[in-house]
Amino acid sequence: MTVLEQPGSSRKKSSLAGPPPAWRPRVDPAPLLPDEEPYRLLGTDAAARLDSGLLTRLYAQLVRGRRYNAQATALTRQGRLAVYPSSTGQEACEVAAALALEDRDWLFPSYRDTLAAVARGLDPVQALTLLRGDWHNGYDPHEHRIAPLCTPLATQLPHAVGLAHAARLKGDEVVALAMVGDGGTSEGDFHEALNFAAVWQAPVVFLVQNNGFAISVPLAKQTAAPSLAHKAVGYGMPGRLVDGNDAPAMHEVLTEAVQRARRGGGPTLVEAVTYRIEAHTNADDATRYRSDAEVETWRSHDPIALLEHELAARDLLTDEFVAATRDGAEQLAAGLRERMNADPELDPMDLFTHVFAEQTGQLRSQAALLRAELDAEANGHTEDTAGADGSAEEARP
């Protein structure tokens, strides 16, 4: 007779029953759980306490951002940009991410987050070199403390954790804010970054812009989690769910998370529920995977229109203010257009300049080969320059 075959009546309650004696929940999960509904301010009574100066500042940045997106998209049609992943419809997330940070903090953007970098003060042209096919990163990350726009998904998240951790080890009160899309939350690096951040209590804020689709794959095929913000609980950090089209709400939630991190309170995962109005990039046909009706629903929840409503209620949306804001955005676009229409001058010899701090013999040989080819080109010669990758003696001066 096996244990399972024994009649129930003969089984006595074991003193070994119940959970293992050493077990206890390590953290109370309740305070970490996100709200049931995305947090909103605009259109609620709480909007009354918002500072007018903040609202006008956010508005000006949203309008600039919308215009920037439109201009950059136009530049792809003119062949000036190889590709542009537009953040139209998501400007509130981008702007809030930039404005929630202090100068000393670091921003870790993904490829769709050029707007956050520009809102943080980065030269709009420098923000686009990657997408133009010019050098991969057109700016010094130290200048505005913006990491390179990251193309592989979620791989910048552990960088943000490491930088924030290093800053804290050095005694600097620096916070890192890392941006990722809904698709990126499925990547292994997302998991490892959040886990490290929580274990180390690193001063880092993760901002997930859930815009509904990873290229064409909808959120339902990306995750079975109640929300992306719920994922925070499993790591032992708070998750916040926020309306990503509500600029003041975004700003408030991110600012709170940044301040909490700076105080030593550890990381936060913020999920912004938003929508990508444009296709993934100009190379994508969004009509294949979503309906016009769905897009229209989100257009009616436009971040600029939402904020205009509040500004109008306060009599701040004067003709003068609207015109000045629009003029500023047009100037930004005109400057971008003009500068992007100039052909960049690249020095091919730069190919070898920044591979290693100290040039290897192999690269010196290859640089000599290219130099010879360039000289021949300049002199109108087309002779075969093969052999410049010559002997070891040539490689070592």
Binding site: D140, H142, G162, A166, D189, H354, V355, A392
Partner: protein, 345 residues
């Protein structure tokens, strides 16, 4: 070239693992930005005890036990390097490094290039590698070809106790990332080297001639060096005076030392544990052929591991290049030479 200022004491046998430990300790003592991190490197002192005592001496913030996540270990180290630290990460075993490949290839190797020198990656990635210790699957890979195939990475592997110290110090001091491959079957090899004696910090990118010879050159590195030295000793009985070159650094590659040797001896055999097809030996043989063709008396030959997934421990002795296989290959050099000369007459 620098020499540490440690007091000279009586030299006594020390292991490669001890030399590595001292290199880490000296580097941490010299430079507060050096941080050691990885799984089990703290309290346990590493599964091979290479990080033994570092957490106690420098604190857990500088010798950190991390969560079990190689991409996370390397990815956070990237961010730490961005903030001015010099992380030395441990991957514990060769095949355990594979989850970190995306960070290594997409970020570590190209960060300097991508940012035009604004962000550098002074990272050292320590990876115990290779077979011969009876490890179970995924504990014996020789993965150097993957790293060599990635521009922007330096790939270094010591074969002697002195080099273990000198090359690791140089790797940590380098402003560029170094994949530092530690031949785990040499961890317990001993040398007449005192952990307290002054030791040179070896420059990266320079091969060493370990044995002078005149009739052929064995080109090797890491775990295969002692095998080649033994083969060279044995070859004397058959009339071969073999030169042995220890590459020490696979990238940068020391064409100068290798070619000077091959031009002198006229014959070359490349010896390594990793598989031959697509392995480092193919690149090395091609470089020699391109540069020394007119000095060669025979084709450049290779003695490598078989082109198979790493075998189970009970069979690994058949897979790893041994003295006999090296000697048989050296004998073919003579055959090739005779054949060439014979045809010419």
């Amino acid at each position: 070239m620098t020499t540490t200022a440690a007091p000279a004491t009586a030299r006594k046998p020390a292991t490669m693992a001890q030399a590595l430990t001292r290199a880490l300790r000296d580097a941490m003592a010299d430079d507060p930005s050096v941080h050691v991190m990885g799984e089990d490197v703290g309290t346990l002192g590493g599964v091979f005890r290479v990080t033994d005592g570092l957490a106690k001496e420098f604190g857990e913030d500088r010798c950190t036990d991390t969560a079990l996540a190689e991409a996370g270990i390397l990815g956070t180290a990237v961010g730490m390097a961005m903030y001015g630290l010099r992380p030395v990460v441990e991957m514990q075993f060769d095949a355990f490094a594979y989850p970190a490949f995306e960070q290594l290839i997409s970020h570590v190797a190209r960060m300097r290039n991508r940012t035009r020198g604004a962000l550098t990656m002074p990272l050292t990635i320590r990876i115990p590698y290779g077979g011969g210790i009876g490890g179970v699957e995924h504990h014996s890979d020789s993965s150097e070809a993957y790293y060599l195939a990635t521009p922007g990475l330096q790939v270094v592997t010591p074969a002697t106790v002195e080099d273990a110290y000198g090359l690791l110090r140089a790797a940590i001091a380098s402003d560029d990332p170094v994949v530092f491959l530690e031949p785990k079957r040499l961890y317990w090899s001993k040398a007449d080297w005192s952990p307290d004696a002054p030791t040179e910090v070896a420059p990266l990118g320079r091969a060493a001639v370990r044995r002078r010879g005149s009739s052929a050159t064995l080109i090797t590195y890491g775990p295969s060096l002692p095998v080649c030295m033994e083969a060279a000793d044995a070859a004397g009985a058959e009339g071969w005076d073999l030169e042995v070159v220890d590459l020490r650094s696979l990238m940068p590659f020391d064409d100068e030392t290798v070619c000077a040797s091959v031009r002198r001896t006229g014959r070359a055999v490349v010896v390594h544990e990793s598989n031959g097809f697509g392995g480092p030996g193919g690149e090395i043989a091609a470089r020699i052929t391109e540069r020394c063709f007119h000095h060669l008396e025979a084709p450049v030959l290779r003695v490598a591991g078989f082109d198979i997934p790493y075998p189970p421990p009970m069979l690994e002795r058949h897979h790893l290049p041994g003295v006999d296989r090296i000697l048989d290959t050296v004998a073919r050099l003579q055959w090739e030479s005779d054949w060439t000369e014979g045809r010419g007459e």
